[in-house]
Amino acid sequence: MTLPKVIRGKAWKFGANIDTDQIIPAKYAIYSLDEIELGKHAMEGVPDRDGWAAGVEAGDILVAGSNFGCGSSREIAPIAIRGAGISLVIADSYARIFFRNAINLGYPILQSPQAAEAVVEGDELEVDLEQGIIRDFTRSDEYRCEAFPPFMNELLKMGGLVPWVRERLRERRLAARA
């Protein structure tokens, strides 16, 4: 699974410090192996966002404030968002385990304080992943994203940690045979 170069979608806007219990309440951890089911309940814990996931169209983009994904280590948080049909997350900043989990899954998440501030719900966005540019057609504006360190880029390009580990296991097997 490799990433597309350009992603287009409509923005959904959330505030700061959205924690993992809001992204996917713990009770849904029983569906940890079922991305579609998790997707149905994404963002269900955010007050006054009842039924949010049902309104998402495949390809939409989630834009949030600072410290997105704080709280628990549950990897089902980025999985639920992906399962809901969100193609990409943009935030002012991320809590570290959420960030790790997304990178490990090969799921694109971008950091752009500019976009987090300026984008309004419903804006039509186009994101150029290679150049790190977010275009807001509704506002006729452009925002920059922060670049990932090379190793993280490599993981994202490979499709996450799974192919990376497969490769290392293969190397080890070869070394053991030699």
Partner: protein, 429 residues
């Protein structure tokens, strides 16, 4: 240039002379942990997607059945079964069955499985707890855990270190929990985001290991990557006869570089709470006295070890839970439960009209045995109170120390413990 404790551990584990904040490293893992919510996906990813057949070192992995166990429904029974089967098939040495272990973050330290100088990861955000024992410990996801189990290695970004220096002793009634709630209130839930939280100073000398675990437990509530304390006599005593491997403590160099240094006068910290709906919403207790409560919960990896239960029992002794309020007490491990039984604490709890449960996460994450309904108000000794954490998104959760929680259960409103018990009897820790 000197290094901090965190940097030294990461340098050693990645086979380098030194590391600097921002470096991306591949490091060897000394110990790893997973539980009933994180082992099933990690095991599946490891075997089916990564193609690994065995664990790099089954003696260096612990697995607990704690989050939704004893199974709360059929789906969590499946997670429990997958966790059990995987642990047995992989020959994991430190597997803790329902009724024998308890909450991971209590079980690992009490069994001497996480040691000074080590690099420890757990597929649970509160894995930062172990840093009280002078190690680098951090929470990871399930794909991370799968990678660790397959390779014994994982990637890290070396964090900047923030240093917290605590001066003077805590006042009567004020506990480690009040100190850390106060600190998080000052710096915010992202105040230490992705950074190391090194906590030192005279105050800690007077704080025992169980209370130190409360302090590092909540490092993640400030967004920290890890919380780490210095090795001293208290650490050594706690580990004597308990440590399962030889260990080498680490110390920060005098010329180590910190991104920022915070100084706190612990003597000025009052009893406090985190108000709904965020752990950084600190308020002195005086501001919330009299708040009506539907439920009081004493439990979790933050505040339900034996010293916590002793203080709760001292306050509850000879009292009853107020009408209109309910008290749920969940010990954080099976060993804690056995000790509580020996000391007669359970009798006190039952006589007071509390619900006493088996050792599990339970109500802490809105799992079972104490889930909150819409509009309900709870005072809890746990670590986070984001919306929906303990049940309905519109339930209100206050966080406090166990003595405040016990006193508030007696009156049914948030109460200073001295209203119920003049002084904590000498020797109760």
């Amino acid at each position: 240039m000197g290094m901090t404790m965190t940097e030294k551990i990461l340098a050693r584990a990645s086979g380098r002379e030194s590391v600097r904040p921002g470096d991306l490293i591949l490091a060897k893992i000394d110990f790893a942990m997973g539980h009933d919510l994180t082992i099933p996906p990690a095991g599946k990813i490891m075997r089916e997607q990564m193609g690994a057949e065995k664990i790099w070192d089954p003696d260096r992995v612990a697995v607990t059945q704690d989050h939704f166990q004893p199974a709360k429904d059929a789906a969590s029974a499946t997670l429990g079964r997958l966790t059990r089967e995987f642990s047995h098939q992989m020959g994991i040495k430190w597997y803790f069955e329902v009724g024998q272990g308890g909450i991971c973050h209590t079980v690992l330290p009490e069994n001497g499985l996480v040691l000074p100088g080590e690099l420890v990861v757990g597929a649970d955000s509160h894995s930062c707890t172990y840093g009280a024992l002078n190690n680098f410990a951090t929470g990871i996801g399930s794909t991370d855990l799968a990678c660790v189990m397959a390779l014994g290695e994982l990637w890290f970004r070396v964090p900047e270190t923030l240093k917290f220096v605590y001066h003077n002793r805590l006042q009567e009634w004020v506990e480690a929990k009040d100190l850390i709630l106060y600190v998080i209130g000052k710096i915010g839930v992202d105040g230490a985001r992705s950074k190391a939280m090194e906590q030192v100073g005279e105050t800690l000398k007077y704080i025992d290991m169980e209370a130190r675990l409360t302090i590092t437990n909540m490092a993640i509530e400030a967004g920290a990557k890890n919380g780490i304390l210095e090795f001293d006599e208290v650490t050594k005593e706690y580990l004597d006869g308990r440590a399962k491997r030889p260990y080498t403590p680490v110390f920060s160099d005098p010329d180590a570089e910190y991104e920022k240094v915070f100084e706190f006068d612990a003597a000025a910290v009052e009893l406090g709470v985190a108000k709904p709906m965020s752990p950084d919403n600190y308020a002195p207790l005086s501001e919330v006295i009299g708040t009506r409560l539907d439920q009081v919960f004493i439990g979790s990896c933050t505040n339900s070890r034996i010293t916590d239960l002793r203080r709760a029992a001292a306050v509850l002794e000879g009292h009853k839970v107020a009408a209109g309020c309910r008290l749920i007490i969940t010990p954080s491990s099976h060993q804690v439960a056995i000790q509580a039984e020996k000391e007669g604490l359970i009798r006190t709890f039952l006589a007071a009209g509390a619900a006493w449960t088996t050792a599990t996460c339970g109500a802490c994450l809105g799992g079972h045995m104490g889930v909150l309904g819409e509009g309900e108000v709870c005072l809890s000794t746990t670590n986070r109170n984001f919306p929906g954490r303990m049940g309905h998104p519109k339930a209100m959760v206050y966080l406090s120390n166990p003595a405040v929680a016990a006193a508030s259960a007696v009156t049914g409103v948030i109460t200073h413990p001295s209203e119920v018990l003049k002084h904590m009897p000498a020797g109760i820790r």
